[in-house]
């Protein structure tokens, strides 16, 4: 293990060197568009308002907030004038920012100052920790000096937001035809907005719709860079950064926090011209993508197993250990070689053992992993998928992950990401997804999207001391004081679906903003805290959300098992070290609908699957898969790959079993800890699951009758991926201490017995003469001269 880490570190160092040399070049690039004025801000806002989308409901709701923000900003500006910025000495990169965007840092400094008063001790602690990161941070920030012109952005941002959101939903569902889906999406979205508006008039006075954060998102960059500053050079590609945190209280009393950081860059990595100017997009990753012609890259590191039965579905599922899947561009000729190099480089970037990915654990799934971005690629020879179920995720993986963020761990939501708390959790998963997305509705050009996610679940009993009361501070031992200055949108969502009237728990500080979204087939309601607005932080200048459950007499509620529509289980059956059987159970808990799932399992070669023993049965009957893709293993070369398309009958358990034989390895092939067992990576179940919303037949929702007769097509099903448990299988293991004992014994016998005997037999014994005296020696010298024999 130590050796593996060392190797990882070595690669990491190399990559750092590469990055730093690249950054040096960047220092010399001309700085453009740094002038700005407060007047510009006002004009922009004034111009922006009439251009707002033609939805009157939204408009009125949004207006007061914008005014408030404007006030904030002006007040912030005044304060900076009167007050010397002593923080600048301390935070070097802040100054740099200050030069660029005079309007924004004022607000920021104000917060900064206040934060320092509050948490000076903390700050010092973090600074120590982050000093090593500083150099790297600076490099990144120099790239920001080339400011971007934002006129286009103002116009297209709104559309872009819409399309990208559509993208998120649609791209997941690759199995269905895309055109159909998109139509339904549009319909559904319309329907949703009307439904929401209806409800709005009833309950939520100050409800902001999801679409509306487009406006909020547009404001901060406007303030920063005025459109008045005309670009001296052809406009460089635009980039945009958004951050958000979703907090979901779970049924079991645990709490789930999901961070998402999204950087979209309109650069064309696939094009001919080299991309060399990096601003928000991490250069280390961008270079890798360019060099290895990566179309899509998905990498996740997970410590722990997502407990579907207790927690429901995660926003982004991932298997325990490390998972990496990459779609290469079709220009790549030697895919395997590129894949090998790529894994080694990524291993350096993320400080992980990804370099252990080789042909024995790489597969090419034929159906399970379709590209999530745009592009209709069907040739799965450009896809590589590998998992390392044994990978242990810890701080050394988190730090490089955080460095990919534009704000690092200095500002915004990422200040919460402190490893001492993140790794004191029940589940920890961090991921990086890179994919091409549409730039505009017509999808004429593509942008690169980098999505960094981090999911963490805090346990009620260990982290929460058994008390059902959660706050940001309790979870992360930090509070939020500001948004990332580079982010166009920075929000915290709290899932309050189960708490519409506040009868379950109390959320403080209360927020007037609510939003609805259909997540994983279920309509959820969220309270929204917009960090780009000063009002979110309240008078204490820091945001520390507190969720306190009402029934204080019964703090610990017994965890009730959920019945998720789709979940699975996998185990090894049998005993003894010769044979065994892998059982995969897939549960469909839907009361009346059958749905298809794709099951993928990659099994290492040392479990020799007997594919003729493959049985699939549901409800006691044989269930014939409609599609089977099986690639047999080759010893020491490639694993088994089994993909099946199964139809799950409603309310059933489908059992897939296959027998295997445990191979006897060569003695050098055993790991250093062979008696620990050998891992078999998680199976992947990809499914289109009928959504809960569509399932709701008894119409408890107050929907008009005319809308609820036909089974609604809207949100009829959603894409979901479920990972099973990895398996730990013991192989027949020789007693490695026995050869050692034998070697020791033999060596001893040889050394003591044979050695001394041989010594005795071959040695010639001579009588040792006492050394001659001085007189004799002199006499001998004389005799030698004379040529007379010595004495």
């Amino acid at each position: 293990m130590a050796a593996r880490r060392c190797l990882g570190l070595w690669f990491f160092l190399i990559t750092l060197c590469v990055v730093s040399t690249g950054a040096d070049v960047l220092h010399t690039t001309p700085v453009t568009g740094t002038e700005s004025s407060a007047a510009g801000t006002e004009t922009v806002v004034a111009r922006e308002l009439p251009e707002a989308p033609s939805d009157p409901g939204e408009h009125t709701a949004a207006e007061p907030t914008r005014e408030g923000e404007q006030n904030d900003r002006t007040r912030g500006g005044e304060q900076t004038l009167g007050q010397p910025t002593r923080e600048e000495e301390q935070e070097q990169e802040k100054t740099r920012e200050g030069e660029q965007t005079p309007a924004q840092p004022t607000r920021e400094e104000e917060e900064e100052e206040e934060e320092q008063e509050q948490t000076r001790g903390e700050e010092e602690f973090t600074r120590e920790e982050e000093e090593e990161e500083l150099t790297r941070e600076e490099e990144e920030l120099t790239t920001e000096e080339e400011e971007l012109t934002r006129e286009e952005e103002e116009q297209t941002r709104e559309e872009e937001e819409l399309t990208t959101e559509e993208e998120e939903l649609t791209t997941e569902e690759e199995e269905l035809t895309r055109e159909e889906e998109e139509q339904t999406r549009e319909e559904e979205e319309e329907q949703q907005t009307t439904a929401q508006q209806e409800e709005q008039t009833k309950r939520w006075e100050a409800t902001e719709l999801e679409e509306e954060h487009v406006h909020d998102a547009a404001v901060p960059p406007l303030a920063g860079d005025p459109p008045a500053a005309d670009p001296p050079s052809p406009p460089p590609s635009k980039d945009d950064f958004q951050e958000e945190l979703v907090i979901r209280p779970l049924h079991s009393g645990d709490i789930y926090a999901s961070f998402q950081f999204r950087t979209v860059w309109d650069a064309d990595f696939m094009g001919d011209q080299k991309v060399s100017h990096y601003r928000l997009f991490p250069k280390s990753l961008g270079q890798v993508i360019t060099k290895f012609s990566v179309r899509e890259l998905h990498i996740s590191f997970t410590q722990g197993y997502w407990r579907t039965m207790q927690w429901g579905q995660p926003y982004l599922p991932s298997p325990p250990g490390a998972e990496l899947w990459v779609w290469f561009q079709d220009t790549v000729t030697d895919v395997d070689g590129t894949w090998k190099e790529l894994t080694n480089v990524l291993s350096g970037i993320f400080c992980a053992s990804l370099n252990f990915i080789d042909s024995t654990n790489t597969v090419q799934p034929s159906a399970s992993f379709k590209p999530l971005g745009i592009g209709n690629v069907t040739d799965h020879s450009f896809l590589r998928y590998a998992t390392l179920p044994r990978e242990i995720v810890c701080t050394e993986n988190l730090t490089p992950w955080k460095k990919l963020l534009p704000c690092g761990s200095k500002a915004g939501l990422s200040v919460l990401l402190k490893s001492e708390k993140l790794f004191h959790s029940t589940f920890h998963s961090q991921a990086v997804h890179v994919r091409p997305v549409c730039q505009d509705p017509q999808c004429r050009t593509t942008s690169m999207e980098l999505r960094q996610t981090l999911n963490v679940v805090f346990d009620l009993h260990t982290s929460g001391q058994g008390k059902r009361e959660w706050s940001l501070f309790k979870m992360f031992s930090r509070t939020l004081t500001e948004a990332c200055p580079l982010a166009s949108s920075s929000k915290v969502y709290v899932d309050v679906t189960d708490n519409p009237q506040g009868e379950q728990f109390e959320l403080s500080p209360a927020t007037p903003l609510l939003t609805q979204a259909v997540v994983l087939g279920d309509r959820r309601t969220y309270s929204v805290y917009d960090l780009t607005q000063q009002a979110s932080f309240g008078s204490s200048r820091s945001l520390n959300m507190l969720l306190r459950w009402k029934n204080s007499h019964n703090n610990v509620v017994p965890p009730v098992m959920l019945r998720p529509l789709l979940h699975s289980e996998r185990y090894v059956a049998g005993y003894g070290l010769q044979a065994g059987e892998i059982h995969t159970l897939i549960y469909n808990h839907h009361p009346y609908r059958a749905f298809p799932v794709l099951l993928l399992s990659a099994v290492p070669w040392y479990l020799r699957l007997y594919i003729h023993t493959l049985t699939v049965s549901s409800k006691g009957k044989d269930n014939r898969p409609s599609y089977i893709h099986y690639q047999p293993s080759k010893d020491r070369e490639r694993p088994h790959l089994l993909e099946m398309l199964l139809q799950l009958p409603p309310n059933s358990v489908t059992e897939v079993t296959v027998e295997f034989e445990r191979a006897l390895l060569k003695w050098t092939e055993y790991t250093p800890d062979p008696n620990h067992g050998f891992y078999v990576g998680s199976s992947v179940i990809s499914a289109l699951v009928p959504s809960v919303v569509a399932m709701d037949t008894n119409s408890t929702l107050d929907r008009p009758l005319f809308s609820s007769f036909f089974p609604c097509k809207e949100e009829a099903s959603y894409f979901m991926r479920v990972y099973t448990e990895p398996l730990l299988v013991n192989l027949p293991t020789p007693d490695f201490s026995m050869p050692y004992n034998v070697i020791c014994l033999t060596c001893t016998v040889v050394a003591v017995g044979y050695g001394s005997l041989y010594n005795l037999l071959t040695r010639t014994f001579q009588v040792d003469e006492p050394s001659p005296g001085l007189a004799k020696r002199i006499a001998n010298v004389i005799r030698r001269f004379r040529g007379v024999p010595l004495l």
């Binding site: 325990p320 017994p558 003894g576 990895p726």
Partner: protein, 547 residues
């Protein structure tokens, strides 16, 4: 005996036995933050078990899984406590629940911990283990398990009948004489020393005076107890069934004797916590230490390297005897007839050898199958219960085998020759050598006890020794009577001597338990004795009465 012959009474008993508070356990475990599942099972015994008063067994196992934080469900540890009615074992579940609550709030777990409360002790445990590993070796009905924790690394079973204990006893002997890794015993001992609890094995305190005669005999007694327990091939605690699945397991029994110094439940909890933390920290399965050992005390063990030569010397007798016979057969003594013509005696026909072999094995098959099959018939015709019927049928068939030689010879074509018995004895001796050798490799104690009784008789039996005396000796050394002596010897060693009458009743119940162990858990002693050892002994009996 005869307790369950009345069907009404039997039904009442069954009703009384299914009393585990399943719902309460589920709720309590859930309140402690565990993932709780249940498993139902049912089993119809081949014949009523009168020791434990059960026949149709229906029950529910309740288990809660403590999921380790940030662990991928690949490894698990098990802590089990049987829940049985009465005061037999009424504190273990309490400690288990207390530990569950404490363990739940700790962050350091790397392996899932399964807290299992099993009903109907070993039957429930068997059902759970078979369900967990999805095997079915004994034909039990169980509902499939819903939650699992990956491969189980180690297990402890807890048996406590009082809230204070004076000492803790470690039970290691499992099914078919399997033993857990010695490191588990070492771990237990180390923690007992650390916490300051008296710990014993076989209920005997370790002594330090090895040099004195009394100390030595104490150690020998402890070891003999272990040998007898191991030879019995039955699980001596709920842990015994884990060993089949390569899970290191032991039972910890709380003993409350009249010693003044008592230990409370908290200390037992601390001990268990310590042991689980140690097991939790293991990177690999326990594999580095001994799996074959005998323990004269908890601190000392006799390794396989020391005891195997003793057995090897015994087996050597058989091999030398076989060699001797081989040599005699290959150079037959020529007999000079009256005419002075040397006549080489004809080698015996295949039939004369095969007939006794086949007939004695058929007797063995009868002994294996008939008792259970014919219980209905026996109950109809004789005033006995099913259990008695089974045991007595077995004894009857066993005794009837003694009449075999006379019947065998009726089938033989001619008269048995001198050469004939020698060939038969050669076959029998080699048969016994192979049989004992294999048995000793699997279950040393059983092999050794059988060797002690069978080897002398195999060495000296010929048709020419005094018939009556030899017959008496042979019957005394026969496997059946060995078992009877072992029962008395065991009671003597346990310092609970029994009268002849009690001993006989105990003997009968031991036979019935042996047959039940085979049917319920797959213990191999009964088929081994009936199908192989007894026929082998019959061959020698045949030789003695060779005509």
């Amino acid at each position: 005996m005869g307790l369950l012959s009345d069907p009404n009474r039997r039904r009442a008993l069954i009703g009384m036995l299914t009393r585990m508070p399943v719902d309460w356990l589920v709720r309590t475990m859930q309140a402690r933050g565990l993932e709780v599942y249940t498993q139902r099972f049912s089993r119809k015994l081949p014949f009523p078990d009168e020791d434990k008063e059960r026949y149709m067994v229906k029950g529910t196992n309740v288990y809660g899984i403590l999921r380790a934080p940030r662990a991928p469900r690949t490894e698990a540890l098990v802590l089990s406590a049987p829940c049985s009615p009465g005061n037999e074992n009424n504190q273990a579940v309490g400690i288990l629940l207390g530990l569950a609550q404490y363990f739940r709030s700790q962050i350091y777990w790397a392996k899932d911990i399964i807290f299992l409360v099993n009903e109907h002790d070993l039957i429930g445990m068997q059902a759970w283990l078979e369900g967990y590993h999805h095997t079915n070796t004994t034909g039990m009905d169980w509902s499939p398990l819903q939650g699992r924790g990956g491969s189980i690394q180690a297990a402890l079973s807890l048996e406590l009948s009082s809230d204070v204990v004076t000492s803790l006893d470690l039970v290691l002997e499992g099914l078919n004489g399997q033993l857990p890794n010695l490191d588990l015993a070492n771990l237990f001992y180390a923690f007992c020393q650390k916490i300051g609890v008296l710990c014993t094995t076989q209920g005997k305190l370790p002594r330090n005076d090895w040099d004195t005669t009394s100390g030595y005999s104490h150690a020998v007694q402890t070891m003999m107890l272990m040998v007898l327990k191991q030879a019995s091939s039955r699980p001596w605690g709920d842990h015994g069934l884990f060993l089949r699945y390569h899970i290191e397991a032991a039972s910890i029994k709380g003993v409350n004797s009249f010693r003044p110094y008592k230990t409370d439940a908290t200390t037992v909890g601390r001990l268990l916590e310590g042991m689980y933390r140690k097991l939790n920290n293991l990177l690999e399965r326990l594999h580095q230490s001994y799996f074959f050992y005998l323990m004269p005390s908890l601190t000392r063990f006799v390794s396989i390297g020391y005891y195997m030569p003793a057995f090897g010397l015994l087996a050597l007798i058989l091999l030398l005897r076989a060699l001797d016979l081989w040599v005699q057969l290959s150079s037959p003594p020529t007999r000079t007839t009256e005419d002075g013509v040397e006549v080489v005696p004809a080698s015996p026909g295949v039939l004369s050898i095969l007939t006794p072999l086949v007939i004695s094995h058929l007797t063995g098959v009868a002994l294996y199958t008939l008792p259970v099959l014919s219980q209905e018939l026996a109950v109809e015709h004789f005033p006995v219960s099913e259990t008695e019927a089974v045991v007595l049928t077995a004894i009857a068939i066993y005794t009837a085998g003694l009449a075999l030689p006379h019947n065998t010879h009726r089938l033989l074509a001619g008269e048995g020759t001198e050469q004939g018995w020698k060939v038969l004895k050669l076959v029998a001796v080699l048969y016994l050598a192979v049989l004992l050798g294999c048995t000793a490799l699997i279950n040393f104690s059983l092999g050794f006890i059988l060797a002690l009784t069978l080897v002398p008789l195999a060495a000296f039996i010929t048709p020419h020794v005094p018939k009556t005396l030899s017959a008496v000796v042979m019957v005394i050394l026969s496997p059946g009577l060995t078992l009877l002596f072992a029962v008395f010897f065991f009671q003597e060693l346990q310092e609970t001597p029994v009268t002849l009458q009690e001993g006989w009743m105990l003997y009968l119940s031991v036979i019935s338990q042996g047959i039940l162990d085979h049917a319920l858990y797959g213990s191999l002693l009964y088929p081994l004795a009936a199908l192989l050892v007894y026929p082998c002994w019959l061959l020698f009996w045949n030789i003695l009465f060779w005509k």
